[in-house]
Symmetry: C2
Subunit: 192 residues, 2 copies
Amino acid sequence: MAQFPHDKPHILGRREVARSRLFAVEELELRFSNGAERTFERLQGSDQGAVMIIAMPDPEHVLLIREYAAGFDDYVLTLPKGLVDPGEDIVGAANRELMEECGVGAHTIEPLVELSLAPNYMRHRMQVMLASDLYDQRLPGDEPEPLIVETHAIEAIPALLARDDFHEARAIAALYIARDKLRDEQQRLQLW
Amino acid sequence: MAQFPHDKPHILGRREVARSRLFAVEELELRFSNGAERTFERLQGSDQGAVMIIAMPDPEHVLLIREYAAGFDDYVLTLPKGLVDPGEDIVGAANRELMEECGVGAHTIEPLVELSLAPNYMRHRMQVMLASDLYDQRLPGDEPEPLIVETHAIEAIPALLARDDFHEARAIAALYIARDKLRDEQQRLQLW
């Protein structure tokens, strides 16, 4: 019989098996609670944290960026995002990324949800922030070319999904969560 | 002035800079249409394709699995998924993964959406399939321990998001897309 919940596997050994400038691969030797042993690999990314921003110029619209994505060798439509710099907090990082990628800052920035990318083999987590009360403010970023900023209705997710260049799971999950939260708030307002 | 859309950057060079059993890192030298040059890294995964399955035992519920995720060194709740084996089609892969991970097959399997993980530095795409008309059928998989299968209401996404172990962006995006599709179909039925 399977235990419920399983006890976590015991880590028998771990060692780095590959490293590049940005990535490191760690090999993990595991013994599961039933005695089964496996060797898994996982990616070690930066542990500094990452942030993704849903910036709303008004209560119905959201800013999306169109940028070159090297993994696909093509342009994709997605939410602004980036790593948290050393010494920065999440709100500061969100505001800086917004200024660099969209040319706006936000007076109000609040946490929405924390998402993982591929927990089976990546430690990566990303904090999604909801930004409103926007104002014009541009900071120079490290982008090789200016990003194209598009404004879309947050209710238009189905139309976005019909596009070829909108497929990043984190952005899709974040937009649905924000949309439902806004719908709930609207409904609560109408009830009162 | 930025061109709209930008021309794709020119790939000046590419070389493998790290490799492990599962992962390879490729360095890409790029020249953007404005002349800016950058060196990017991207992960090369398997190109065989991957599949994630929303399996519905009835029109209101979905099967989730609870499995050990090495990236987090913890158990996570997510959708069944896996790689497409050589010679397999997407439907066959979805049905096999369901049998291995959940102990069920599906008489009906249809494509829902294709999601990417991190297009900036990964080529990875995953095809999400909607499976229904389920029947009991178990296949031995390569899991080190039996996965725990849970049945959840597809309308209960907010309750899932409140849990500590449910955070994988691909699963969240897939569930929202399926839920909205089912809501739309229900609404259309009621209109007729």
